[in-house]
């Protein structure tokens, strides 16, 4: 970092103006804070994250949006650890979107842990250092003789102690240290990091406090629904607005022309009423003539036909080629050929999309359940022509995200409605809106050939990946990277692609790309293991051992391959086969893989996957009745996310959730398109997992000497192929397409 090249204050000013520094931009200089009137004489506000008050409480601002991943608890844990206060003294506030104070206020890519591990600890350590300085000055002793603990500074030589509360005024006069120069605790001294810590909002949740976006209330607020064309991008030709306007409670009804951005403000009709139910009731009487546009011709069956046709032709372009795959296949002892498919998926967070908006005096105030509020602010600004500095965004808790709220379509809709009326307004989508206007996980088609030699070694692999896009670009979340595993682990390897156009909005779903590709790759490896006559685990050990020198040899990944914020998919350049082997060994040991013969109808499947910097290997055991009824007996998980499990209590919960989420996707979830519109409309035909379907999930950690990484996503991808591989082991039926509900598993 260049931070060392400039003085602290100078850097701070530059950073605050540009909003660009990684760490130090979070700091306010003391002088500036005083100018802003922030620290009262008795308060100490060392930086934008921390406020110490004379009542002994430490208020820590959680900057990132909370979607259930536990970040609102985790980030303050890092700060409190290094500030060296008791967790019971900590009070947590959710920060608003403020890009001058905070960096990267988003929830995506499992990025919070790897990007916050050092910065948040330094924020706490800097506060601690200032308190130590204040005590040292008070006592006239060197800072090096002072220690902290229990919210106090100690000088052991003179047996003196000053609680932080008595140092606040003095500490406020101390110049903050440079963040990259502060001393951090030794891990052996951690008392908060690594301790099971409950969700800070637990009590509010169990008592039904109005903490979610959908609960926001603003005085004088009206309620809105927004009806869009069932065919994506369809335009309003006419609507019976006069009739709707006269219905009970309706205050406004109007057309919003919208844009052509399928992830932005789509055309539609807004109905605003005194209560949401009145708006929704009026919507049932709304009659709209739509211009459905050209994408009405789209269908899932049509995509499948186009994919088959593209697969029968030479690929449009190559993403990677190592060795001579064709020659290697020609000389292989056994060749396996297979077509794999995974469908479009919706995110279906339980809280439907919503935003509350109030436009007055040229300024727009938003309360939005968004995973990427900064992107939302930009979208609103660009779409509606209001300057970003005139938009304020508050970040209520979200009833799930899963990537859906990385899009901000609902936010710009609410803003557009608010800018047409004098009252504040809350837009709430119906479940049907949410199911039929998602930014879907794109479907994918993979046409694979693999070969093993006489010794059972995997020597050749070709994948013609048929996806959606135009020219050399993929639509969002439909790409694949050139380092995707098993690239670099097979001597003769080719990854090619062809794309077809798509008029369906797509987006990132929890463990994007990985949630589909892991199924394909780990299933096909399983097929090849069986072709080679080898145990699926042994075959994987040998594959991981067959690595080429790790430098990627291929063109850089396509634009669609990166998840927001730099999350990595299945085989990013830094994929470490030793760490993967480690979790594979651990899950083999814990699951008892291969140690007990299982009866016909019961089987174990294994898979591993690397994504979002995390290494996960999983084993699933299933029992399938002769009639084909599937029961998932148990899931074993082994994960390596580095040197510390920051909050073990939530970590286990996240793994449970990810694994069960993957199982739900595999069992019965599918979005299909007919006549340009989504066929499914609610949970009755887009089923979430239910309690009786949830198998036991046993979680094991392999702690390694690597920086801690995130856990919102990486445990999900391997469970799907582990499940389908288990079905093969139990029944001999190879599952090459999802969901499982479309397969007859009888044997």
């Amino acid at each position: 970092m260049e931070a060392t090249q400039v003085t602290r204050r100078h850097f701070l000013q530059v950073s605050a103006l540009a909003g660009g520094g990684l760490l130090l931009s979070s700091f306010e200089s003391v002088g500036r804070l005083e100018a802003m009137g922030l620290p009262q004489a008795s308060e100490f506000v060392p930086n934008a994250f921390i406020r110490l008050t004379p009542d002994g409480m430490v208020t820590i601002v959680a900057k990132n949006p909370e979607i259930g991943q536990g970040v609102k608890t985790m980030l303050p844990m890092l700060i409190a650890e290094e500030l060296d206060v008791e967790w019971s003294q900590v009070r947590i506030e959710q920060g608003d979107l403020d890009t001058t104070k905070f960096q990267a206020q988003s929830a995506g890519g499992s990025n919070a842990t790897p990007t916050s591990w050092l910065p948040m600890r330094r924020v706490g350590a800097a506060g601690r250092a200032m308190l130590v300085s204040a005590a040292a000055q008070t006592w006239g002793v060197p800072e090096s003789e002072c220690t902290t603990g229990g919210g106090a500074v100690h000088h052991h030589a003179s047996r003196r102690m000053l609680p932080y509360t008595q140092l606040l005024a003095k500490a406020a006069t101390i110049a903050p240290p440079a963040l990259d120069a502060v001393t951090l605790k030794e891990p052996k001294d951690f008392r908060i990091i690594g301790r099971p810590t409950r969700n800070v909002d637990a009590q509010a949740i169990v008592t039904g406090k109005p903490i979610f976006g959908i609960d926001v209330t603003v005085p004088g607020m009206l309620h809105a629904v927004y009806a869009k064309c069932p065919v994506f991008g369809g335009k309003v030709v006419s609507a019976n607005l006069d009739e709707v306007q006269a219905l009970p409670g309706v205050k406004h009804a109007f057309v919003i022309e919208g844009t052509t951005n399928l992830s932005g403000l789509m055309p539609g009709v807004a109905i605003v009423a005194d209560t949401w139910w009145q708006a929704q009731t009026a919507r049932e009487r709304l009659r709209v003539t739509w211009d459905e546009g050209p994408t009405v011709e789209q269908s899932s069956a049509g995509f499948a036909r186009q994919a088959a046709q593209l697969a029968s032709q030479p690929p449009q372009r190559g993403l990677r080629k190592d060795g001579d795959p064709d020659a290697a296949l020609a000389s292989a002892a056994k060749v396996v050929e297979a077509e794999y498919f995974y469908p479009f998926l919706a995110h279906a967070p339980l809280e439907p999309q919503n935003t509350t908006a109030h436009y007055r005096d040229g300024k727009l105030e938003l309360w939005s359940a968004s995973q990427s509020p900064a992107n939302g602010r930009r979208l609103v600004s660009q779409t509606l022509g209001i300057a970003e500095e005139n938009i304020t965004i508050h970040l209520p808790r979200m009833g799930g995200g899963f990537g859906r709220r990385l899009g901000n379509d609902y936010m710009v809709e609410a803003a557009a409605i608010a800018m047409k009326i004098p009252e504040p307004v809350k837009l709430v989508w119906t479940r049907e809106d949410d199911t039929q206007h998602d930014l879907y996980r794109p479907a994918g088609f993979h046409y694979l050939k693999g070969g093993v030699d006489a010794a059972g070694k995997l020597v050749a692999w070709k994948n013609h990946f048929v996806s959606f896009g135009q020219g050399t670009s993929f639509v969002q979340a439909a790409g694949l990277g050139a380092t995707e595993f098993p690239a670099r682990y097979i001597d003769h390897y080719a990854l090619d692609t062809s794309v077809m156009p798509l008029g369906v909005p797509t987006g990132f779903l929890r463990a994007p790309t990985s949630n589909g590709v892991a199924f394909v790759v780990q299933s096909f490896i399983d097929e090849l293991a069986h072709a080679a006559g080898k145990d699926p685990v042994q075959f994987r050990y040998e594959l991981l051992a067959n690595h080429t020198p790790d430098a990627p040899s291929a063109p850089a990944g396509p634009p669609g391959a990166q998840t927001p914020g730099g999350g990595r998919q299945g085989g990013g350049p830094q994929f470490d086969h030793d760490r993967m082997r480690g979790v594979l060994e651990l899950v083999v040991e814990k699951s008892g893989w291969g140690r007990t013969p299982l009866p016909k109808g019961t089987g174990m499947g294994v898979a591993f996957h690397f994504s979002h910097r995390g290494y996960f290997a999983e084993v699933v055991q299933v029992t399938v009745s002769q009639a084909g009824q599937l029961k998932i007996d148990k899931v074993w998980v082994a994960g390596d996310i580095g040197s510390h499990i920051i909050n073990p209590l939530n970590a286990e919960n996240q793994v449970h959730g990810s694994v069960l989420d993957g199982i739900a996707e595999a069992l019965a979830q599918e979005i299909t398109i007919e006549r340009g519109r989504v066929t499914q409309d609610n949970f009755r035909n887009f089923p979430l997992l239910r309690l009786v379907q949830a198998p036991p999930v046993e979680v094991h950690w392999r702690v390694t000497d690597n920086p801690p990484t995130g856990l919102g996503e990486p445990a999900l991808p391997p469970v799907i192929p582990a499940l389908t591989n288990a079905i093969f082991a139990a029944t001999g039926k190879r599952i090459r397409s999802l969901p499982l509900s479309k397969h007859n598993l009888a044997w």
């Binding site: 909370e66 949740i205 209560t275 479940r431 392999r702 702690v703």
Partner: protein, 178 residues
């Protein structure tokens, strides 16, 4: 048309269209936001409340059908958030996003009110109508068993000093760290 019923022990009269679902009366007329909208067709259970002591979905129940009835929402389940189910939910750190949990807690508390020590099968039956998109089901099951213990301890006049971390630790199937 005015409809009168009891909400959390208080007699309440609302003047709304009779087909207005109880859910939206609770949320937008009575400002009780703890009861959640998830699907509108009684598929997800986020809107679960007690009606005359029974767990029901409020999203598709017209308020006219509730006239004269006794409704309890998450806000009225206990005076200060200390119902055994609420305590067990906090202790076991059940919630992820938390959106479905009010409905889960209302279903679980209705179960415990008629079955003091539910079996796993009882839990399956009572809870299968409540979706959790974050899939916290494993802890929901554990927390219901734990709440049953707590309720029994309460009934025996035992103190509530048992909210230590020993139970939380027992959640872990494996040691943390190498």
């Amino acid at each position: 048309m005015p409809t009168t019923f009891t909400v959390n022990g208080k007699s309440t009269t609302v003047d709304v269209a009779p087909d207005t679902p109880l859910l939206w009366v609770l949320r937008d007329v009575l400002d009780l936001k703890g009861t959640k909208y998830g699907c509108g067709i009684a598929q997800c259970g986020a809107c679960t409340v007690h009606l005359d002591g029974v767990a029901v979905r409020s999203c598709n129940r017209p308020v006219s059908e509730v006239a004269g009835g006794e409704v309890v929402t998450i806000e009225g389940l206990s005076a200060d958030g200390n119902h055994p189910v609420q305590r067990a939910w906090v202790e076991m750190d059940v919630a992820q996003c938390g959106y479905c949990q009010a409905g889960q807690i209302m279903s679980a508390s209705a179960l415990l009110s008629r079955t003091a020590r539910p079996t796993d099968q009882d839990i399956d039956r009572a809870m299968n109508g409540n979706l959790c998109r974050c899939a916290t089901y494993l802890r929901i099951r554990q927390a219901i068993h734990r709440a049953a213990q707590m309720a029994a301890a309460d009934a025996n006049g035992a103190s509530r000093r048992d909210e230590d971390t020993s139970v939380v630790k027992s959640l872990f199937s494996s040691p943390i760290g190498a």
